[in-house]
């Protein structure tokens, strides 16, 4: 019986009928990326045909959680600097978060804040691709959006139970759905053909021990989620700092001095993303644009 219920919820989340469909552009770009003849300029041109998407992408790329010293003004340089996988995830985030921002600004802020912490920690630890870690931080709670959109009635029950029993959102999800937002986020990212470097940190952000290949990245997302909750930036459903995974803490190996500096740096960077919003409709006119540039 329980299993049947879980299967039903799983199917609903997998189909994700109510989530915005991925722009066709993602498939087109994926095909292009597989072709060694494709240049980044050509990919930039494809993206820039969708003016609103292009403007959003550049805004995300230039936000404080990537922290590039110079302004990135063209999509082709964004693809070179961030890599195709990150740009693809950003296209997906931009379309999903549009819904999220309308519905749940605070979860969006929590996600942005988490991405900022991820960026600070990943750079400090010398992780090879810090941009991928920030991106994973940005989408780590995507499963919550899916549950809210696809299983609206259960989502209400989850919220009720959370308050009544004073438990975390994840505990309530497990009790009601038999699965949690991390697992749901894992399926979604897998369905979108994102790389394992993004899938594992999303699906293992509550328990980095479950990660097979990406334990360190999962540990960074796990700890960043805790820290940004502690700082009270945004709201992730429930406002309590959850348990710290021992494994994650061992992997991160941070000293008190590291923590002091991380908190200072995060606070500084949060000022820059405060009020950062994907809402740029007013800015994106219908005028002609140079392809690949904004």
């Amino acid at each position: 019986m329980e299993d049947q219920k879980k299967q039903k919820f799983k199917a609903a989340l997998r189909e994700a009928k109510n989530l915005p469909t991925l722009p066709g552009i993602v498939n087109k770009l994926t095909k292009m990326a597989d072709d060694p003849e494709t240049t980044t300029e050509q990919m930039g041109k494809v993206i820039s045909k969708d003016h609103i998407l292009a403007a959003k992408l550049l805004k995300l790329v230039n936000s404080a959680f990537y922290g590039f010293p110079q302004r990135i003004s063209s999509l082709s340089s964004a693809i070179i600097l961030l890599g195709f996988n990150v740009v693809k995830s950003l296209i997906i985030s931009a379309s999903i978060f549009e819904v999220m921002e309308d519905q749940d600004v605070e979860l969006w802020e929590h996600s942005l804040g988490c991405a900022v912490v991820c960026s600070v920690i990943a750079k400090r630890l010398g992780v090879s691709e810090p941009e991928e870690v920030s991106t994973a931080g940005l989408i780590h709670d995507i499963g919550k959006v899916a549950i809210k959109m696809e299983l609206a009635a259960e989502y209400k029950q989850i919220n009720k139970m959370m308050l009544k029993d004073n438990i975390s959102m994840q505990q309530a999800e497990l009790a009601i759905l038999g699965l949690d937002h991390a697992e749901a986020g894992g399926w979604l990212t897998k369905n979108w053909n994102l790389p394992n470097k993004l899938i594992e940190p999303v699906s293992c952000h509550h328990d980095p021990r479950k990660a097979k290949d990406e334990q360190l990245n999962s540990a960074i997302i796990h700890f960043s989620d805790l820290l940004i909750r502690g700082m009270g930036y945004g709201h992730a459903g429930d406002d309590k700092v959850p348990m710290l995974s021992k494994r994650a803490w061992q992997l991160l190996d941070l000293s008190p001095e590291d923590l002091d500096e991380i908190i200072d740096e995060v606070e500084e960077n949060l000022w820059d993303v405060k009020g950062f919003s994907l809402e740029i409709k007013g800015e994106s006119g219908d005028g002609e644009m140079e392809s690949g540039e904004l």
């Binding site: 502690g230 009270g232 309590k240 700092v241 348990m243 710290l244």
Partner: protein, 102 residues
Amino acid sequence: MQQILSAQAKEGMILAKDVMTPEDRVLCGKDTVLTNAVIDRLAKMDIMHITVQGHPVKVQGEKTLKEELRDIEARFSKVTKVPPLMYIKKKLMQKMIASRGK
């Protein structure tokens, strides 16, 4: 450190961050003490926000220091036995107190 509207700027406030022009040039450096001349210049350059030291502007609906500290305590209430998290809590509280110090 507090981010305020340029319209709320008063003589004697001290910049906590560089003020940048839209072209990303430094208009006014960190640690500058604001004078009326500087404030006029910010207005002329259409600078909307600046970040100043301390917490000079009272914002309506803003939590008091006591409420902020109580909230931090509540957020960490389920992890009181985890030393690294308690260290973070202490640090955040100290920072909160320092930010409201002025």
